[in-house]
Symmetry: C2
Subunit: 337 residues, 2 copies
DNA sequence: TTGTAGGCGTTATCAT
DNA sequence: ATGATAACGCCTACAA
């Protein structure tokens, strides 16, 4: 049986109130008794019961982290960084992987809310649907605790968004390719999420602004759950149908790796004959040969800001509802500009 | 303010004891009152307060998951699978990333134990040190809750180990190469963990059993924190020093990818001139060209068994202290046997 | 079958 | 500066 505050108070010949005071750093306790109590706590390695504390304080100092699939490279990194940030602010992380189905997300959110977490972080833009109905669970949840969105945006009371400006990052990357003289750019994407749409629209912006005729014919949508191999094959197919392209802009690094694989198989040389740009600047960039040029969405900055905002909100401060950061292109071997 | 059991009991005109009974599925409740209460619970979306429940039951139904770095591909996958398994058994997951330093691990373990988790899962063999002193924190922890080890083994009361037989898997892979006529095998490793040692010893076993002279000269230790690029360079260096090899056996998939990169840079063709085998059969296998042959350590099986054992232990059953599974070789493009 | 009441380990508001 | 004591929301003998 672990010791309780009563055991400590007895050993120290004081009341539990006094012990509680030193536990919570009250200043109105004599230095000598404080030291005595601290010594005993140390000696017996006493730690307060978190559940009991939570009952009194109405806070477990625990944040629920929801993400579709924490084994996804990008999401895993985000979860890791969030957990680190939360920990250094004295909060624990309750992790829950929901999958990509909306009904399940709703159920898991309720489940985790019943654990009385202090707030919820939704990791990834796949938590935002396109209809009012699909997003109703977020509105419901926000009635109970603050909801923090990473890489998505949703304007509603008590929900806070922190994200990378995917649209303008993508525009920038596309224009960099255009400036390098590559005008036939294949845009490759698969997911259909909030941020995926932003990226695509950023691509449109660049191509329209630069008046590239018929660029839309070079937009390739890959099946959501395809393997790298399948995507590479899909690109080869696309080419076989008569499309020509000397640049590939991919909506994430995995897709970009598939593009590099396609080039290997078809004997196209990178970056002389074909330039490839990925998105996320993940560890995958160094896995392929040559190494992958990629857009960095500054995940560290995002997670840091998200937790900062959260801590502020929890302490009752007024905080920005939306924080937007620009990304930037990290040039490596798959481009020569 | 969320509803309490008192609110529900009032609305249903019964005592809280009766509400509590239907909440906990007691059979001694009249069908009609049970239905009435259930309806009210449904209507008001009442969910019991987890902290209060934990106080009475002395269980939060929460498992602490410790891992060094949940953004590591292999560990991320393990954490994901564990969380899924736990969830389907009605347990939540408190995630804590400790880094690779032993002192920190000890501190984080205590921190998480003070949250009164029901058990602890240590993910990855890096939690086991080589000295008694280094492992003392595990003994201490096991005095409070069951400790489950994934991919490591430690014989002590109340600690349970679930792991892949890395040694024999590696032996098997090496002998497969030998049978294919490749006798100059470079063994590539970096970490210094429990399982890393097992793998190396498996390699020794194979080479000794087949009486390969001087095989030890082809064991290459890469710096722990090197990038893929650096490891590829290290292999090239090694070759430049006069070592020849036509097979590479890597202790994990990342190292194997570095080996493939080395081959690309040096113009050695895979698998004709050089065969490469990785370890873990992770998603990385499909990222390189050709796709990577790798040893599958059956992570799904391991995590499933670990959680099964854990649930058994928590319900007071006698459970095996150690569960060992064999791995097997998944052949892809980097080998031609 | 149902209700009463004590206990779980804290925090916080009163007094003293 | 310190001590009683009432919450906090739930579970569970024990009674009825």
């Amino acid at each position: 049986m672990p010791l309780t505050i009563y055991d400590i108070s007895k050993k120290a010949n004081v009341s539990i109130a006094t012990v509680s005071r030193v536990l919570n750093g009250s200043d109105s306790v004599k230095e000598s008794t404080k030291k005595k109590i601290l010594d005993i706590i140390e000696e017996y390695e006493y730690t307060p019961n978190a559940s009991a504390r939570a009952m009194s304080l109405r806070s477990l100092r625990t944040i629920g982290i929801l993400c579709a699939d924490s084994s996804d490279v990008f999401l895993a990194k985000a979860v890791y960084l969030l957990q680190q940030e939360l920990q250094s602010n004295g909060y624990e992380s309750l992790l829950c992987c929901t999958g990509y189905n909306f009904d399940k997300k709703k159920n898991y959110m309720n489940l985790i809310l019943s654990k009385k977490v202090d707030a919820l972080i939704l990791v990834g833009s796949n938590f935002i649907g396109s209809t009012e109905e699909e997003n109703s669970y977020i509105r419901d949840g926000s009635a109970k605790v603050p909801i923090m969105l990473l890489n998505a945006s949703f304007d509603y009371p008590n929900v806070y968004s922190t994200l990378c400006d995917d649209a303008s990052s993508m525009t920038e990357a596309a224009e960099e390719m255009l400036r390098a003289g590559i005008r036939d750019i294949l845009y490759l994407y698969s997911a259909d999420s909030y941020s995926s749409k932003k990226k695509l629209s950023g691509f449109h912006t660049a191509m329209k602004r630069n008046e590239i005729p018929g660029y839309e014919d070079l937009i390739l949508h890959a099946e959501e759950s395809s393997s790298v191999e399948e995507i590479a094959a899909a690109i080869a197919d696309f080419e076989a149908k008569g499309h020509t392209f000397h640049g590939i802009l991919a909506a994430d690094d995995t897709l970009a790796i598939a593009a590099v694989k396609y080039a290997h198989k078809k004997g196209r040389s990178i970056p002389d004959d074909l330039s490839v740009i990925g998105y996320n600047n993940s560890m995958l960039t160094e896995f392929c040969t040559p190494e992958l040029t990629s857009i960095d969405s500054h995940l560290e900055t995002l997670t840091h800001q998200l937790v900062t905002t959260l801590i502020g909100v929890l302490s009752g401060q007024e905080m920005p509802k939306k924080s937007l950061f620009s990304g930037n292109l990290v040039k490596r071997g798959t481009t020569n500009f």
